[in-house]
């Protein structure tokens, strides 16, 4: 079961806060995070890794990224 976090248009630290909230909610073991800057992509990936999650996939669509993170 995967959930989605839409952090497009938001600047740091919002995308990270939203991702961590979803991780802490503990309802899912896979999260798709949508962001639209390279910085947010890096920050979300770094935060997920620090929580023991792994970055499964990063797909790029124009100016947007979908980061799929999975509980490790």
């Amino acid at each position: 079961m995967s959930t989605k976090v839409d952090a497009r248009g938001l600047s740091c630290p919002q995308p990270v806060l939203m991702t961590l909230d979803e991780i802490k909610a503990g309802k899912t073991d896979e999260i798709e995070v949508l962001v639209d800057t390279e910085t947010s992509k890096e920050n979300v990936s770094r935060a997920a890794t620090s929580q023991g999650w792994e970055v499964k996939n990063v797909s790029e669509d124009g100016d947007e990224y979908t980061i799929t993170i999975k509980k490790g």
Binding site: D6, A7, R8, G9, L10, S11, C12, P13, Q14, V16, L17, M18, L20, D36, T37, E38, T39, E42, N43, R46, A47, S50, D63
Partner: protein, 364 residues
């Protein structure tokens, strides 16, 4: 697939911090004021003075470092396909935050960058400033945890993201057309300081090149002095903090080598020792930076990437500097200005109101 961004790694951010620390200290050697190799707040204030937005005679100079920061970030953003023109995340609020961030910084006499450089130069008053900065950012993180959010930005025209970079090009053109004339306080439309910190500067080309290099590297590494503290307080993440510490260490070692390290609390360059107001001024600045999502340097780099909201914050800072000097809010080596204390209190109230009232559900 893009090349991996080496500057976003741990050693990348440390390397960038070291680079900034060394070259900031060297800029002082080359002529910039004491412990002010790079100070974003002071330099934007000098730009406001050079344009005549305030008429404090000792702080007037179009600082090429600021121009370099924005244009260096712009070049990096284009080279690495990260230019993202965007705006519309509560710009008027960001303008006000920028203005009060500047007012707070000028009560302390420096932004977080200069607080680090002052510490690296032995100025003990910087400790109070840095503690105030940490306290202000900590208050900001409480708001962030409660859902404080200025809302989403929208993608805009590429040219809209060029506005602040073009203003910087315009400033550079003005300096070239109206260069400093020895013994004169005005050249064409620009004001120049005859004495004081505004009269102290490294050669234009040196300042510009160092500024461009820092802008380029900071865009790649996302270097941010506020984020350094915020991420540690909020997530216990040390990534950006390592860069900030590297800056202090590198500037300290460089200062030792070139004989610029003078420990003490009194007689420090462009500083005063009113501890409470050094602390409170930086609390205000730290809170405003935290609410706006970036230190003054980061706001310049984001502007170079096409972030119009960050550009509005920068303009807010420049206007804030004008108010600071016109209204007697800015400190001097003698101590706080006649209305500095009132301004800090009003600024804190305004920032707290912004923090309390601007909450938004993240999916709204």
């Amino acid at each position: 697939m893009r090349i991996k961004n080496v500057f976003a790694t741990r050693w990348g951010i440390i390397g960038v911090g070291l680079f900034i620390g060394v070259f900031a200290a060297l800029l002082q050697k080359f002529g910039n004021p004491g412990n002010m190799g790079v100070c974003v707040a002071c330099f934007e204030r000098d730009i406001a003075g050079a344009l005549g937005l305030h008429r404090a005679g000792v702080v007037q100079y179009i600082r090429p470092e600021i121009i370099g920061f924005v244009l260096g970030a712009l070049i990096a953003a284009y080279l690495f396909k990260e230019y993202r023109p965007r705006l519309g995340s509560a710009p008027i609020v960001r303008f006000v935050l920028g203005a009060f961030a500047m007012i707070g910084a000028l009560v302390f006499l420096g932004c977080p960058w200069r607080a680090a450089l002052r510490l690296a130069g032995g100025d003990g008053n910087a400790i109070l400033g840095l503690l105030g900065l940490i306290f202000g950012i900590w208050i900001g993180t409480l708001f962030l945890k409660k859902g404080y959010n200025l809302g989403r930005a929208q993608t805009t025209h590429a040219a809209a993201g060029w506005v602040l970079p073009l203003i910087m090009v315009g400033l550079l053109a003005l300096v070239i057309i109206f260069p400093q004339v020895d013994g004169q306080d005005k050249s064409g439309v620009l004001f120049y300081s005859q004495k004081g910190p505004g009269a102290m500067h490294a050669p234009l080309l040196v300042s510009l090149i160092v500024g461009l290099a820092i802008g380029f590297l900071a865009q790649r590494s996302r270097f941010c002095t506020m984020g350094a503290i915020r991420d540690f307080v909020l997530f216990r993440q040390t990534h950006l903090l390592l860069g900030f510490i590297a800056l202090v260490v590198a500037a300290f070692v460089t200062n030792l080598i070139v004989g610029q390290f003078h420990p003490g609390f009194t007689g420090q360059p462009v500083a005063h020792d009113m501890h409470v107001w050094n602390f409170a001024g930086m609390t205000l600045a730290g809170l405003a930076f935290a609410l706006a999502g970036g230190c003054p340097g980061r706001q310049l780099f984001l502007s170079g990437e096409g972030d119009g909201d960050a550009a509005v914050f920068v303009l807010g800072m420049i206007v804030g500097a004008a108010f600071s000097h016109n209204f007697g809010l800015a400190s001097s080596p003698k101590g706080v200005g006649p209305y500095g204390i009132e301004a800090v209190i009003i600024g804190l109230i305004v920032c707290l109101l912004i923090g309390f009232t601007m909450r938004k559900r993240s999916n709204a």
